[in-house]
Amino acid sequence: MTAAVSTIARPRTRAGATVTPRWLAIPAVAGAALIVLPLLGLVSRVDWSQLPTLVTSEASLAAVALSARTVAASTALVVLLGVPMAVLLARVDFRGKTLVRTLVLAPLVLPPVVGGLGLLYAFGKRGLLGESLAALGIDIAFSTTAVVLAQTFVALPFLVLSLEGALRADGTRYEDAAATLGAGPWTTLRRVTLRRVWPALVAGTVIAAARALGEFGATLTFAGSLEGVTRTIPLEIYLQREMDPDAAVALSLVLVVVALLVVALAYGGAARAARASARPTPEVR
């Protein structure tokens, strides 16, 4: 009670209230509206009484199960491939590094359809590696593997970007300390480096997973739309949009809720981890 009374009685001291131009609020609110209104639009169209039936239809369940499987696989692949990429880009000097970094970020700026075409002409039957893969009895295009590859392709840069930035910002001070204490490069990477950039690794992984979950264009181009095999949630939504708009809206709602939940959890987790572990060096006393 005392605490409540005192907060009411005495205005809190606030910082920065006078230095921000107030008119910034107008474009800022417009921007927020642009993001929030479509979400409200979706929610306004949900047929709540039909929702359970729509979401548990055979096609919907197949799409949700496929999305869960493929996103889990592509996120694992993103971490497995992206962490080494980020570490090498941040820590090792090699020729053509700028070019490599630019190319790695290409999926961020390419339309996903173009990415899908590229994947088709690299791993498809008549692609660059198609014949070699066919000789091994592997046919990737229009399979679940193709879905995973398409999702990995579009999601990988998010992790690499986030992790590389964190590694650069952190510097090599702690790695130097670990080395002169006798720790080899692998021990240092595991126990010192990755532990320091843990929040960035978590945040990057979550953003990558969210991007993989929403992947549409590259998947449709490279993997097609086969129920239970390559038709993930976004593809199912696109298909139902014409035939059964209510089902499309219901699935969209599921996607939005899952995506927001994942991002909120991960950012909360990353923020906690950041507070706990990446705090600047103890204040000099």
Binding site: L181, R195, P282, R285
Partner: protein
């Protein structure tokens, strides 16, 4: 008895110097910022790999860490570097931080923890063993960093301005702690504080602009300096005469506006606790004298004033 031999030429940083430490002794590596102290330590530790360098550690058999054909990476050198930033590993307890080195050098988890606990006791922070590394104060963190460095039982311990980030009280406490711990440890401590050299070092090496300016035992270098930086650090004037050097202490120099002795011009006036130290440019070098600003004529504490300096007769010349 060789503890460490380190010769390095790093043209990018204007450093070309050679450092030699006898086993069991502590060398103070003195010099102003940018004189190449940290560069020499980084080369010795293996964190910097110049084209031309040679690093040898210990004896019988001496371990060649770096020469024309060999380069041993930092984690395989029996050398540990402690910097002014404790660089404790976040997400680990204090005990795990100190056990990190022994673990990396192959001890079992229990043995490493036992060793770590022993070192935390010796550095006076055993009560913090289970605290998180990021919750410590600067002085506590540096004590833990010292325990962590010593726990690896290095053949050579390098300390790069270990007290520079601490306030006066904490620095004094950690300096006293180091004085007790560094006996019989082969160590190099880079610093620009006279007190570090006076309390911690057996020998002194002075660097200036990337070169070794002078070296010798602590008492010899600090009372008979041959380089202006050393004289200033030791709080003495320095004259170069045809017969040798003279380094009178401030108490051995008397200033007057007009009087006998060497003519000179006041260059700098520094406020010290109760008195004021006045540095005077004279033709053969520079002299320092302590002046009471309350009872002396104001001209004696004003830069640019022409004065005369009388040196006490007991000050002797050395070469």
């Amino acid at each position: 008895m060789t503890g460490l031999e380190c010769t390095a030429s790093v043209p990018e940083r204007g450093v070309d110097a050679s450092l030699s430490v006898r086993a069991g002794r502590t060398v103070a590596l003195l010099g102003p910022n940018g004189s190449g102290k940290s560069t020499m330590l980084a080369v010795a530790a293996g964190l910097l790999r110049p084209g031309v360098a040679s690093v040898t550690v210990g004896e019988s058999p001496a371990l060649t860490c770096h020469d024309d054909r060999t380069w041993v990476p930092p984690h395989r050198r029996p050398i540990t570097l402690l910097t002014q930033d404790p660089s404790l590993f976040a997400g680990m307890s204090v005990l795990e931080n100190v056990a990190f080195g022994p673990r990396a050098r192959g001890l079992s988890r229990d043995a490493a923890r036992a060793a770590a606990h022993g070192w935390l006791e010796r550095t006076g922070v055993a009560h913090l063993a289970f605290a998180r590394a990021e919750s410590l104060s600067g002085g506590q963190a540096q004590r833990v960093a010292i325990a962590r460095a010593l726990a690896t039982e290095p053949t050579v311990l390098l300390l790069d301005e270990p007290l520079a980030a601490l306030d006066v009280d904490a620095a004094g406490e950690v300096r006293a702690l180091l004085a007790g711990l560094l006996t019989n440890v082969t160590a190099v401590i880079a610093t620009h504080h006279l007190l570090d050299a006076a309390l911690l070092a057996d020998d002194v090496v002075v660097m200036h602009e990337g070169r070794v300016a002078e070296q010798g035992t602590r008492a010899d270098v600090l009372t008979r300096p041959r380089h202006e930086f050393t004289a200033r650090l030791a709080g003495r004037g320095l004259l170069r005469t045809p017969t040798g050097f003279l380094a009178p202490s401030p108490a051995q120099v008397t200033l007057a506006v007009t009087g006998g002795g060497l003519p000179g011009t006041i260059a700098r006036v520094e406020a010290h606790a109760e008195s004021t130290r006045v540095w005077v440019d004279v033709p053969e070098g520079i002299l320092a004298s302590d002046v009471d600003p309350v009872t002396s004529p104001p001209a004696l504490v004003t830069p640019g004033t022409a004065v005369t300096c009388e040196i006490a007769p007991e000050v002797s010349t050395y070469t």
